[in-house]
């Protein structure tokens, strides 16, 4: 075969996605500003749809390069894994800032909110009702996803599909319950710093649950399609790390905001 190099690294071919992705991201955030100031949501929606389309096509290309072209050598796979680890660390720092904001306001509540937490007249969610069920759901999903991973390592295709499917369903159940809670809430995001910290922290968490469930779903599809082997399934592992991260963030949310803050 004609080769110009003999190294394990993947020098990617020219692609339009990075540029279009950055333009889409700009449209999304500019659209947010336009929504807030002018009450017009079209630019934001256009940006979101654009980002979704670019993500699907960029990652589709990555799957093609990996599973079908075999360009993901051990070194490339290592790089991908480090990339996912660093990304999750950045997300951890992202959530850290919301926890900082929450504790800043809740540890010494100001006189404007009645010098108490929860603030005067705010009724939070009873931590021993749906939030506790949600905790059980996410912990169970951690078990099912670990089951799925072990099944892949043991070449048990059918069990790995069952495990991933169970995880996706549990994730969907969590999202459904949380949406129900949001609709039944006695307070809104505008209800003092309590509402702001509550909905920003749990809201971003919910978004991450949806993203994590989608990631797991895509991996379920790829598993069924036969893209993975017992020694090479970095997509699954990345999704599992992300899912465990989402689970851990929920545990912190539950203990700090739902339980301690009740």
């Amino acid at each position: 075969m004609s080769l110009h190099s003999n190294h394990p690294y993947h020098l990617v071919e020219k692609s339009p996605w990075p540029l279009i992705a950055s333009v889409s991201a700009l449209m999304m955030v500019a659209g947010l500003v336009k929504w807030f100031h002018d009450f017009k949501v079209s630019l934001f929606l256009f940006g979101v749809v654009s980002i979704l389309l670019v993500s699907a096509q960029w990652w589709r290309d990555t799957v093609r390069e990996a599973a079908f072209q075999g360009l993901h050598t051990l070194k490339v796979a290592q790089g991908m894994r480090w990339g996912m680890v660093l990304f999750i660390v950045s997300e951890l720092l992202f959530f850290f800032s919301f926890f900082w904001a929450y504790f800043h306001s809740s540890l010494s509540p100001t006189s404007e909110i009645g010098a108490q937490w929860p603030p005067a007249s705010i009724n939070g969610f009873n931590p021993f009702q749906i939030p506790l069920l949600n905790t059980a759901i996410l912990l169970a999903s951690g078990v099912t996803v670990t089951w799925a991973h072990h099944a892949i390592l043991e070449n048990e295709h059918s069990q790995s599909v069952q495990g991933l499917l169970a995880t996706v369903l549990l994730g969907g159940y969590f999202t459904f319950l949380q949406a129900f809670e949001y609709s039944e809430s006695a307070f809104s995001i505008g209800d003092s710093v309590y509402g702001a910290t509550f909905f920003v922290a749990t809201g971003f968490h919910g978004l991450h649950v949806i993203i994590g469930s989608t990631f797991l779903c895509v991996n379920l599809w790829r598993l069924v399609q036969g893209h993975f082997s017992s020694a090479h399934h970095n997509g699954v592992e990345a999704a599992i790390w992300y899912w465990h991260f989402v689970d851990v963030v929920w545990l912190f949310l539950y203990v700090s905001i739902y339980w301690w803050g009740y």
């Binding site: 394990p8 075999g70 295709h157 090479h232």
Partner: protein, 121 residues
Amino acid sequence: MASIMSRNLLRASSRCLHTTSYKCADKGMPLPIEHATGLERRELEAIAAGNENPFDMRVIKRVAGATKDSPTEVPSAFEKRIMGCVCEEGATSINWMWLYRGQPKRCECGHWFTLVKSNPV
């Protein structure tokens, strides 16, 4: 991480290929090496054949007192390759140079190097 992958691979290939393959097929997933394609597959096949360094990326220890007549051999699949000489232990800079097939070269520290043909993965 990568070691886990190759450990799995070696574990699978240490058994009889037919038996392992059959057991894998029974459970619905192929052997990792059968599943791979392209460069990834060639890398795995090279490792399975015993070549732990298929891309010639490891540091090569210089042959002691290498001279023009017995230079340190640097493998390459091509007509030229960049290489770096770490002239002494703990040196803070590397002396990089191009090596061309058929032209042994001397580093400033006195060591000789020559390019040797090796097969690409």
